[in-house]
């Protein structure tokens, strides 16, 4: 497996000379099956021979589809914790993973990171319908996703196999949302992006899982009725099986 990967990288390395950076992913779709418990994808690539020591700063960002979300804050009212203020956000991804050769703050200035959406602090969603400072709410949304393993920053997790070949593992946990993801690889030099490549990654359910999900959304009445029918049938069967001979 590893040898095949390196062979593939070596083949790709030849045309890479022309454009400084070439990257790829180990699989372009993740199929969610009934025993899916999360998986790893491998992002690999090659850069042109480094001209200077700063020439090897690489950042890999995997970004899931944007999802609108609402963050609420609880306050204590008469001894009970009650939801009071809320902020609604648009433009926060459902999944965000960053791997880099070194902490991003050392790779480029804030403005550059902000421009390319690199790093959790560069996730700047639009706050809708909030009458107060949305910043603590944004931080809370990031914290929440980090706890669920859906947002992560992992500096120093890019391995160099040689002077020009690099590789990193991206964990995709079980709780991911279906949809189109983007794998972005950036090559930084002197604090700015000199080359970048984006590859789509599709996360989708297959087989029975997909059919059940589709049924639940396309014909919810049939789905609901089958749920009730199944429950009643199983209830009846067990009652017959356990019937004590009188």
């Amino acid at each position: 497996m590893r040898r095949a990967l390196i062979a593939a990288l070596l083949l790709m390395a030849a045309p890479a000379r022309a454009e400084e950076l070439v990257s790829g992913i180990s699989q372009d779709t993740i199929q969610i099956t009934s025993n899916y418990t999360g998986t790893d994808i491998v992002v690999f690539g090659a850069i042109e021979r480094a001209l200077s020591p700063q020439g090897r700063s690489i950042v890999v960002v995997v970004r899931g589809p944007d999802e609108p979300m609402t963050v609420r804050r609880r306050d204590r009212v008469a001894g009970v914790w009650v939801n009071r203020d809320a902020a609604r956000f648009e433009g926060l991804p459902a999944y965000y993973y960053l791997a880099s050769t070194e902490p991003v703050a050392r790779i480029a200035p804030r403005e550059a990171l902000q421009r390319y959406g690199i790093g959790l602090q560069a996730l700047t969603p639009t706050a809708i319908g909030s009458h107060h400072d949305p910043e603590p709410f944004r931080q809370a949304a990031i914290r929440y996703h980090q706890r669920m393993g859906l947002y992560a920053e992992n500096p120093g997790s890019i391995d160099f196999l040689s002077e020009t070949l690099f590789r990193t593992r991206v964990p995709v946990p079980a709780g991911v949302t279906r949809g189109q993801y983007n794998v972005e690889v950036y090559l930084f030099r002197g604090g700015d992006v000199v080359s970048a490549q984006s590859t789509p990654l599709f996360v989708d359910a297959t087989g029975l899982e997909r059919r059940l999900f589709n049924l639940a959304h396309d014909s919810p009445l049939v789905y609901g009725l089958s749920c009730v029918f199944m429950a009643m049938l199983l209830g009846w069967i067990s009652s017959v099986l356990f019937r004590r001979p009188a």
């Binding site: 969610i32 099956t33 009934s34 025993n35 899916y36 418990t37 999360g38 999802e67 609108p68 979300m69 609402t70 963050v71 609420r72 804050r73 609880r74 306050d75 001894g79 009970v80 914790w81 009650v82 939801n83 809320a86 609604r88 603590p136 709410f137 809370a140 949304a141 914290r143 929440y144 079980a174 709780g175 991911v176 949302t177 279906r178 359910a205 029975l208 899982e209 997909r210 059940l212 999900f213 639940a216 959304h217 919810p220 009445l221 789905y223 609901g224 009725l225 089958s226 749920c227 009730v228 199944m230 429950a231 009643m232 199983l234 209830g235 009846w236 069967i237 067990s238 009652s239 356990f242």
Partner: protein, 305 residues
């Protein structure tokens, strides 16, 4: 041992969920309650989204109740007339509950209202049951036979639209059963419960039905209400997970059968004392969650309110 749930969009340990279904099913068979008030908080505890937990628990309750109801039916211990009248109120209550559910979700007060309702309902009912069953047990011990069915039913006898419920040996107005059905129906939609812990005491203490028909009749009512609510949740919120339901139900129906047998070995008063303790423990746990400082005062929900 992991299985992916298509609607909840997460992996779970299926053996644990079958065991959970069996355990709650056992209690529901024993006490003649659906077990939703235990199942919903337990599912949320295993990180299943609360909307999915509320909607899917209902299937577990339907199945456990079906299994229990058939056992009672063979004993001829069901008052179908009473169940039918209560269901009339139950359907209205369910529709009202679904409307209220949507309203509270927009306000962001869903969790609070659910928790408060749980604490008040479970706390109040648990306390009343505990007091009554302790009094009865004490009376047994001192050799005095407690009067089980007082003749004076007060305000209930004064209500119009009286009807004969042969199986329950009652001649009372249809207003209290319809009212109870309505309350239970709306709570079913909001809390994801069958409402057995409300119906059973209401039948015993308000309607004064004989204990032997209470179990069967409440189960029939619960089956109908949870079936309707499941369909409403599936069509309105797409939050019923059929794989999760299958796991819970498979465990639940076995547990319910075992529970019915265990329940037959205990006296009615002992059963009520045990149920009262269980209800109070759940209420105390939920109350603690309301007043304890949350891990993170911020909470997140996907989508727009």
């Amino acid at each position: 041992m992991e299985l992916y749930l298509p609607v909840a969009e997460m992996s779970v340990n299926w053996l644990m969920l079958i065991a959970l279904g069996t355990g709650v099913g056992f209690l529901s068979g024993m006490f003649g309650v659906g077990g939703g008030f235990l199942m919903t908080p337990l599912l949320v505890f295993t990180d299943i989204p609360s909307t999915v937990a509320v909607a899917t628990t209902l299937s577990h309750v339907t199945a456990s109740s079906m299994s229990g109801a058939l056992a009672q039916w063979r004993k001829r211990a069901i008052d179908f007339t009473m169940a039918g009248v209560m269901l009339g109120g139950g359907i209205l209550g369910t529709l009202f509950g679904v409307w209220l559910f949507a309203l509270m979700r927009r306000q962001g007060q869903m969790d609070l209202i659910v928790a408060l309702t749980y604490v008040i309902m479970l706390g109040g009912i648990g306390f009343i049951m505990l007091r009554e069953s302790l009094a009865t047990l004490k009376a047994y011990r001192s050799g005095v036979t407690a009067s089980r069915r007082p003749v004076n039913r007060g305000w209930i006898q004064a209500l119009p639209f009286k009807m004969r419920f042969r199986q329950s040996r009652l001649y009372i107005s249809v207003i209290p059963p319809i009212g109870i059905g309505f309350v239970v129906g709306s709570l079913s939609a909001i809390m994801g419960i069958g409402g057995g812990f409300i119906i059973v005491p209401a039948m015993i203490y308000i309607l004064r039905m004989p204990t032997n028909v209470v179990m069967g009749t409440s189960l029939v009512q619960i089956i109908a209400v949870t079936a309707i609510t499941t369909i409403l949740q599936a069509t309105n919120n797409y939050s019923v997970d059929i794989v999760l339901a299958g796991l819970l139900v498979s465990g639940g129906v076995v547990g319910a059968q075992l529970g019915v047998r265990a329940g037959a070995k205990l006296r009615g008063e002992q059963l009520r004392l045990l149920l009262a303790c269980l209800v109070l423990v759940v209420a105390a746990g939920l109350f603690y969650q309301l007043i304890a400082r949350p891990l993170d005062v911020y909470s997140l929900s996907e989508g727009m309110p």
